[in-house]
């Protein structure tokens, strides 16, 4: 929709606004903002045709800091607002910024439906396993036993798993990254390249209320054994190539296997196929601890997007019909009252009165 006059290549700086960033110093949100600002010029995005839509929470302040169109909506409803934006103008690039409380608690319903409909957009869920903006209550992704102002004796409910929720809702793209990861821009690029709803769970460190809760795999010293970076067509290796993920054919689950001398084939390590939905289901359910954290693009198998289906149907239904307001209001069963108060049936169209039960 933009005219095609060549434009100077943009830099991350071009995507910064003059607004003072108001996250706590050291918050993981800063790194994610930088990763996004680094990604946008690389994918050739244009500020005027980019819209960031967010809900409520620390992460949802994000749109104020990106030099594009932005809509900071209400708690949990960003997917619904974004759906309206995209249906009204399918040519816009729509990014949704949300958090664990916003997307999975108050807005869980909308998250499910935007994924099942497959609206073309990127959904970045900043998962910090806590309610930051309201000062530290446990969230739907907090681990059992999380002590917080509202759970002084520890939370007793079982946490939601964002990636599993997304896949279960019918998502056609599920990826994971974390705030300070150097791979995050690549994950974002893959999400942008996917036509349809692209769901990205980004582990984010809330240094004030839930500090280092992901350190077991995000910290450098834990990276080798804690991170499984998935690449399409590549074996699922981690631990400097000494370990891999294989299928336990008896139990129909995944298992960690040792790889001797780099011979991953001998160890039956799975080659990642991003279109394999069954394996994706296993990857999102892989318990961290006995397994590494699966990161990168877990699943990517495009299907027709919602807005394109709506547009196609609208066009089909309108085909060959010329809009004519006068004709429209004159439809149905009509009759003419002449000056002599005479009456006759003009057009026996479809009967319009009375609800049919």
């Amino acid at each position: 929709m933009n005219d095609m006059t060549p434009v100077a290549k943009m830099t991350p700086k071009d995507w910064e606004t003059d607004q003072e960033v108001r996250w706590c110093p050291g918050c993981g949100d800063y790194a994610i903002l930088k990763a996004v600002q680094r990604t946008l010029p690389e994918i050739g995005a244009r500020p005027e045709s980019t819209v960031f839509v967010s809900g409520i929470g620390c992460s949802s302040r994000f749109p104020y800091y990106v030099e594009s169109y932005g809509f900071h909506t209400i708690h949990g409803r960003a997917p619904a607002v974004a759906t309206g934006v995209k249906l009204a103008n399918p040519e816009l690039d729509v990014w949704i910024i949300t958090g664990d409380g916003d997307a999975l608690s108050i807005g869980g319903n909308h998250t499910m439906h935007i994924l099942r409909r497959n609206l073309d957009c990127q959904i970045l869920l900043f998962n910090n396993e806590i309610y930051g903006l309201t000062k530290g209550q446990y969230s739907p992704t907090s681990r059992e036993g999380t002590r917080s102002p509202s759970t002084p004796f520890g939370s007793v409910d079982r946490p939601a798993k964002p990636a599993a929720f997304a896949l279960g809702s019918g998502a056609r793209f599920v990826a994971r990254g974390f705030d300070v990861s150097k791979n995050l821009p690549d994950v974002l690029k893959a999400a942008y390249a996917h036509k349809g709803a692209a769901f990205v769970e980004i582990f984010q460190n809330c240094i004030v209320y839930n500090k280092d809760v992901f350190a077991d795999f995000t910290e450098k010293k834990n990276a080798d054994d804690g991170q499984l970076w998935l690449e399409n067509g590549k074996p699922m290796l981690f631990g400097k190539g000494a370990k891999g993920i294989a299928l336990d054919r008896e139990a129909l689950t995944l298992k960690v296997v040792d790889v001797v001398d780099g011979d991953w084939q001998a160890a039956d390590v799975i080659v990642h196929d991003v279109t394999n939905r069954s394996v994706a289901h296993m990857l999102v359910e892989m318990p961290f601890g006995s397994f590494p954290m699966a990161l990168g693009v877990l699943y990517d198998d495009p299907a027709p997007s919602f807005e394109s289906a709506v547009v196609a149907q609208n066009e089909q239904a309108a085909k060959g019909k010329t809009p004519d307001l006068q004709k429209l209001v004159s439809q149905g069963q009509t009759w003419t009252v002449g000056s002599g108060a005479e009456t006759d049936a003009a057009e026996a169209g479809s009967a319009g009165s009375g609800p049919e039960l």
Binding site: P63, G70, A80, L328, A351, S353
Partner: protein, 627 residues
């Protein structure tokens, strides 16, 4: 088989079979097709040139158990040669297809009115279900009315025999037999209904034929009974055409009129329409109608819930369509927070509320006007929003256009109030000449103001600019956090919040500058008494005032379309009357607003039975007030 005295008043006061107006109610089991019968009778009546008004009244249950009292579905029509504005108080004719229908409706029938009952359904089982101890058709309990007891079930079975339908299917044609008889009674043309049946059953011609045969048989029954002089009391009545302005007419329900008005409104604004809806009674019909009108730039979206319905509409407005959402009271409650967002971000939006009985789930299929407070006041914070109320199905068309106009000209959400009665009721509508509606095209801002772009700068109406994403150079961020004056940046300072609250308030109050003066629907612009109404009470108020004035009473009728802001002259107008009564189907909501705004002694007249006002009720209140 039938026994009845000849027809006498009130159905035929002059005994010349020529009537000014007649009220007929069809009542039966919800499976008996009474709404269809009523709908088709309405059409034929409109085609005969009568003015008319209808009142469909059906149970909340989709398939209520057969024969039960709560499963009764009724359709009332008032038609005549005069100006008809209500569905009528008491029926002259009641068609009762089973004991339950008789039981729940007969008490409304005028003394001396005619009952046509299907005696074939008055068996022990059905009598027990309707909680009758004895058969009312034979025990003399209906003596104050005329009774025409026919075995409609058997007559129908006989008439469709040649078509080889099963018993159950054959009995389904009962409503057409009854309609045939009713058409004969009022000298109506069967042809449009024959055409309609053929179209409806195009894929099953044997069903079309059977239904047409039943229709013809009912009609022939009336004819034969009269000619043979069997003393059945059946006579044909002539209701002359109403003297209405010449032109092209159609029947329209409120839901249709709103849908058409919204399409017209968006077209006049030069915008595509985005309609986000979620199924709810009685508002769903609007979603259904609009979903078929794609060629008018309409996108309909059935959202996952009421909140998503409005949130998507807000998103669409942000992106340059006119966002519209529609619901009923409980759904509007869910939309409350999002309405606040539209007010804060100053985006155009139309919210249609087809009111129903409340609170909570309340009475889904019954009518009420009890969401006025919700419309005017029902949000957190100081959140002013214009509110318009339609008075009738036909009026809803213009109201919908007006809602679109205000939304885009002031960058504000607008609530359009209608109700279950208006949504479902049908009335004749003089097809408007669309050339007489002035377009109000929207201009999006595409270049920055002099001195730099300010997304919250104001024009003389206090409207902020509408900038579509996709516009180069005007990127900006909006949201629900308080906005800085002009800049639209996040701004929490006390002075700024005061200023922005004042701006939002003054912008909405300023809409009154664009509104016509409040007129007097009937009567004089000062005097002893004024009856002030809004919404669907128009009909009964109008008729009651007309009758009272005919008796020489000094009473006028003022009907308010613009509930918020109120028309500028309303206060002065109301102060010109000694007394004010405000009939409402709630516990006194407009009354409170009028008292608050004008310090006038407005007296309430309230009814919350789920049924519209009867003319007589308002007439009595007028007499009372003038005592």
């Amino acid at each position: 088989m039938a026994s009845v005295a000849p027809l006498s008043p009130p159905i035929d006061p002059a005994d010349d079979q020529s009537l000014e107006s007649v009220v007929v109610r069809f009542a039966g089991d919800s499976g008996d097709g009474m709404q269809l019968t009523g709908g088709q009778f309405t059409l034929s009546t409109a085609l005969a040139g009568n003015d008319l008004a209808t009142f469909p009244d059906f149970p909340a249950e989709i398939r209520a158990p057969q024969g039960t009292l709560f499963g009764v579905s009724a359709f009332q029509i008032n038609f005549g040669s005069t100006d008809i504005t209500t569905a009528g108080d008491a029926p002259d004719v009641l068609v009762a297809m089973n004991p339950a229908a008789l039981k729940t409706n007969v008490k409304d029938l005028k003394p001396g009115g005619l009952i046509i009952a299907d005696e074939g359904e008055f068996n022990d089982r059905n009598l027990a279900k309707a909680k009758y101890e004895a058969n009312p058709l034979t025990d003399g309990s209906l003596a104050q009315w005329q009774l025409l007891s026919l075995n409609i079930s058997q007559l129908t079975l006989d008439s469709v025999k040649p078509f080889g339908l099963g018993n159950k299917e054959a009995l389904r044609c009962k409503n057409m037999w009854t309609l045939g008889l009713a058409l004969w009674m009022f000298d109506r043309d069967r042809q449009p209904i024959v055409a309609w049946l053929k179209a409806k059953f195009a894929k099953a011609p044997e069903l079309a034929d059977a239904n047409i045969a039943a229709l013809d048989a009912g009609h022939a029954y009336g004819e034969t009974a009269e000619i043979s002089g069997e003393g059945l009391g059946l006579k044909q009545h002539h209701v002359p055409s109403a003297a209405v302005p010449s032109g092209l007419y159609r029947t329209v329900t409120g839901a249709e009129a709103i849908s058409l008005g919204l399409v017209a409104g968006t077209q006049l604004a030069g915008l595509p329409m985005f309609f986000g809806g979620y199924p709810i009674t009685p508002a769903s019909a609007i979603l259904h109608h609009l979903s078929r009108l794609k060629e008018y730039g309409v996108t309909t979206f059935q959202a996952e819930d009421e909140i998503a319905a409005i949130a998507s509409a807000i998103g669409a407005s942000y992106a340059g369509s006119l966002g519209i959402t529609s619901s009923s009271g409980p759904g509007i409650a869910l939309k409350g927070e999002a309405i606040g967002l539209a007010i804060m971000t100053e985006l155009p939006l139309v919210i249609v509320n087809s009111q129903r009985g409340g609170p909570s789930t309340g009475l889904p299929t019954k009518t009420e006007q009890s969401d006025l407070y919700q419309a005017v006041y029902g949000r957190n914070g100081d959140a002013p929003m214009p509110v318009i109320a339609a008075r009738s199905p036909a009026d809803a068309f213009e109201c919908a256009i007006e809602a679109c106009r205000i939304a885009v000209q002031y960058m504000t959400p607008v609530m359009l109030l209608t109700d279950g009665y208006i949504a479902n009721a049908a009335e004749p509508w003089k097809v408007p000449d669309m050339a007489t509606f002035a377009p109000f095209p929207v201009t999006f801002m595409d270049t920055a103001q002099e001195g730099g772009f300010l997304p919250y700068a104001r024009d003389e109406k206090l409207k902020r600019p509408w900038v579509k994403p996709g516009t180069p150079g005007l990127m900006h961020r909006i949201g629900g956090i308080e906005k800085g004056v002009n800049t639209g940046h996040i701004e929490y300072s006390p002075a700024n919040h005061q200023a922005m609250t004042d701006i939002r308030q003054n912008k909405v109050l300023g809409i009154a500058d664009s509104l016509p003066d409040q007129d007097v629907s009937l009567g004089t612009d000062s005097g002893k008494l004024v009856v002030v109404g809004w919404g669907s009470t128009f009909g009964p108020i109008h008729q009651a005032v007309r009758r009272a004035r005919a008796k020489g009473r000094d009473v006028s009728h003022v009907h308010i379309r613009h509930i918020w802001p109120l028309p500028k002259n309303l206060g002065t107008l109301l102060k010109g009357y000694e007394k004010i009564i405000v009939p409402e189907m709630n516990t006194g909501q407009l009354k409170t607003v009028l008292r608050d705004q004008y310090l006038v002694d407005a007296k309430p007249l309230n009814k919350v039975s789920g049924q519209p006002f009867r003319i007589a009720e308002i007439e009595a209140a007028i007499e009372d007030a003038l005592k």
